[in-house]
Point group: C2
Chain length 331, copies 2
């Protein structure tokens, strides 16, 4: 079942089959077209993706490169991306850099070698090296990093605004000593979320509570929580940079007998299902995953190629951890 078979069955040439399949680049008469279509139906012909890629076409495959698929935020993102590309017949080549910049670089190459039609990159790096992709002509959408040049797209959340909203909410609850679990200091994401936290505090005339830096992981949050909650002058609320850290923090509080939300209000950023199902359920700034996925896919799918920087909004999911009532259904 190659197009040679189809051509034979349709009594035409392989070129015409190609024109029909691709709707171009040459026109085909209606009569021949239907004849070819029938032949395709008859033979059950499916174009060979690999051969097509070799000849310069598309692979109908996108790359998704994340620091850690087992981070629920990225897992849910991957799920959403799948959902969005599925309709257009694309598949996802998933790469996991395991938080390693070197590996990220290598995987970018591996992705390009496989001729993916585009790459969605959630980089471990503050500003990843995109020169290879640009040179190779592979469209890239940066996730959670602002594109360094107009050559590549990005879709980022409003980190500052979200962090500010979260902190403000804690303040409204009457919390006065509000700490922050930051992510790795070098990342813009970390800096922006810190900035939002600070600005809310400043606007309310409050001192900055303790800031501790930790990896974006449960273990990081656990460690940070232990330090924070056993130290002198314990905060009465914490804003965590992501859900994983918050889950770790919750565990630290639990182990130390610190009650959430009575003794410690907690709010977090990301809003994955981990937040909804934590005990107590975690209030959080929710990133619109479906929207992020949709934008990223749309930018990659667009012909001719376009680039854009889109900023996504956020909502606040208020649950038990900050002191808000928890509805009957957790999520």
């Amino acid at each position: 079942m190659t197009r040679a078979d189809v051509a034979a069955a349709a009594g035409t040439s392989v070129a015409v089959v190609s024109y029909v399949v691709n709707n171009g680049p040459r026109p085909v008469s209606a009569a021949t077209r239907t004849r070819v279509l029938e032949a395709i139906e008859l033979t059950g012909y499916r174009p060979d993706v690999v051969a097509r890629a070799l000849a310069g076409g598309f692979t109908h495959t996108f790359g998704l490169l994340v620091p850690d698929v087992s981070n629920r935020f990225f897992a849910e993102l991957a799920h959403q991306v799948e959902e969005h590309v599925y309709a257009s017949g694309h598949l996802i080549l998933l790469a996991d850099s395991a938080d390693d910049p070197v590996r990220e670089r290598e995987l970018m190459n591996a992705l390009m070698e496989r001729r993916v039609d585009g790459i969605m990159l959630a980089s471990v790096d503050a500003d990843p090296d995109l020169s290879g992709a640009i040179a190779g002509g592979t469209p890239v959408v940066l996730l959670d990093r602002i594109a360094p040049s107009a050559l590549t797209s990005s879709v980022v959340p409003d980190n500052i605004g979200g962090a500010r909203a979260a902190t403000e909410h804690l303040i409204e609850h009457g919390r006065r000593r509000i700490g922050f679990i930051a992510g790795p200091a070098a990342l813009p994401t970390s800096q922006d979320r810190a900035a939002g936290w600070e600005s809310a505090l400043a606007a309310a005339g409050l001192e900055r509570g303790p800031l501790v830096e930790a990896p974006f992981s449960r273990a990081g949050g656990l460690e940070a929580g232990r330090r924070l909650l056993t130290g002198p002058d314990r905060p009465d609320a914490m804003f965590a940079s992501n859900d994983q850290q918050a889950v770790g923090l919750l565990r630290a509080a639990h182990d130390l007998g610190v009650r959430v939300p009575q003794d410690l209000g907690v709010i977090t950023f990301d809003g994955s299902q981990d937040a909804a199902f934590a005990i107590p359920s975690l209030s959080s700034v929710v990133q619109p995953l479906a929207e992020i996925a949709e934008h990223a896919v749309r930018l990659l799918l667009a012909r001719p190629h376009v680039t854009a920087r889109v900023t996504t909004g956020h909502t606040l999911a208020l649950r038990a951890s900050c002191g808000c009532p928890d509805g009957p259904t957790a999520p």
Copy 2:
């Protein structure tokens, strides 16, 4: 930088370059070999993966088809698989069937069209249709399903043994009315875990506690928990079919004021990080993810192609939810 350039630089033919790169199928004299190697170094030549695949070789890409990447068990599995294939220069084409058998079928085809070197399939189906893959000659490793024929491999946990061990542990704690949250009844996985639970109960001369069927999700566990915990004759312990269900159950208990482990002992199957970080931390039958990934990858990598049915062991991680003491570090 094609092998023509390398051939030119080495003063040899393209065929020889191929022989050197692939270590065959024809021998090459030591002298020429080093000359070619130098030329490769010099030109920075990288073989074109796509062309190589077209010419009949391999794509150095495996397919991983799961029901839901955002299920932490599969996310962690994906992570492990990545880890294991990385060294051999492979990448993972990730497909998410969203629990839909039809979609699963389509994705299998999509994977095969892309000429993946092998497929790891965690099917939604009790016995998935592998005829296409077998006909196409694509090696498949079934995860969590026993291979229906000797033509395909499988790696499965000891569902019965694991479930029995979990239930026995609950019994040792003095629990007497032990319920079970089952998965979808049609799946062998569900049936086996139920069988293990029953056999432990029978061996101890205990009556079967309530059994309720629920999807393998948090929402499923939540719903099941609500039903179980508000009904008459509430169980004093529950065994959940997977971590997601257990997390939902924990939430139901929390909402209803049922204390875990005092009023209700809980133990689960899978042992993802969700279990380690739940509050209270969940005791569970731990599946050796790294081992599963390793076996699956090894079976796919093996040349010549081999098939096998491997059963993986399990360990019990005893934590707070069953009444065991929780160490200072949760995980």
